[in-house]
Amino acid sequence: MLDAVPLIVGGIPFGIIFGTLALNAGLDVWQTMGMSSIVFAGSAQFVAIGMLATGTSIGFIVATTLIVNLRHLIYAASMLPHVKHLDQRWRIPLGFLLIDEVFAATYPRYLNHAQDKNNHWHYLGVGVAFYVSWNIATVIGIFFGATIPGIENWGLDFAMSATFIGMVIPHLVNKPMIAAVLTSAVLSIITYQLPHKIGLVISAIVAMAVGYYLEQHQPRKKT
């Protein structure tokens, strides 16, 4: 369960800003909590309240949610071989909890401890821990947003970037992975202006293809 601690530390500041911004965007306290507890999708929540603040219609916001969350399909596909022995009673909560941080903390464990029979408990534990902390952080944001003006300009969102850097760097141990990550980095900048953050999905897919191609074509060190 210690694997969840860094995610929580990185996620709390982000949840706090969400609570603050949601009130500014016109949501009431319960609606703000509803988003964090029922939707539970950090980046889509931010995009949604941003669009609400500019008066975008519900249909557009829902469509954008779909596209922003398409990356979860990549996560689900990655996890597929590891959850198919579980019954639906497990798969439903595990699916609900499949967010960036939980996937990034859980997937390496499945790869490195493939024979461990309790990996789904680890997945569930990390997911629940993050879920609880995300909702507590939202409450804190709701409370402080009203009492500390300007908290949304502190730059608390840097916590997410710091968390992700800490998660990506340990993967950079071979050339295909390094090339894939650099490809993703460059493409994410180039495609940033595309609508609905679809550039994120394009960048990741092209980068994965680059990594796969290089891995297949590199000289084998071990046979």
């Binding site: 509803g34 609400l52 996937f103 490809t183 900048i189």
Partner: protein, 105 residues
């Protein structure tokens, strides 16, 4: 505008995306090539999220000394390369980020 309707629709869309493949996990067999490529998924997606957040915090490419996000990210990369400890990476780089931001003001 009915915000509760929006929240419920967002929740349905989000959960559907995450659960769709899980729901039929037994009958879906991914091609071996795709499974190989998916090994790269986590670092690539996280990178595509974090790089614009760091280099374009205001929506425009800002590779200058007055971008504290870039400074903090460089510190985070150095700490992560040094210790490979996520918690340490977050704490040190956030400390540097806020210090740098404060010094810039």
């Amino acid at each position: 505008m009915n915000i509760w309707l929006l929240i419920i629709l967002m929740a349905m869309v989000t959960f559907s995306i995450r659960y769709a493949l899980y729901a039929r996990a037994n009958s879906i067999k991914l091609p071996a090539k795709l499974e190989q490529a998916l090994k790269f998924s986590a670092p690539c997606v996280l990178t595509a999220i974090l790089v614009p957040a760091v280099l374009m915090p205001q929506g425009e490419l800002t590779v200058t000394f007055d971008n504290p996000y870039l400074f903090g990210a460089i510190i985070a990369i150095l700490v992560a390369l040094w210790k490979k400890n996520i918690l340490l990476t977050i704490v040190i780089s956030m400390g540097c980020f806020f210090a740098y931001k404060w010094l810039l003001l």
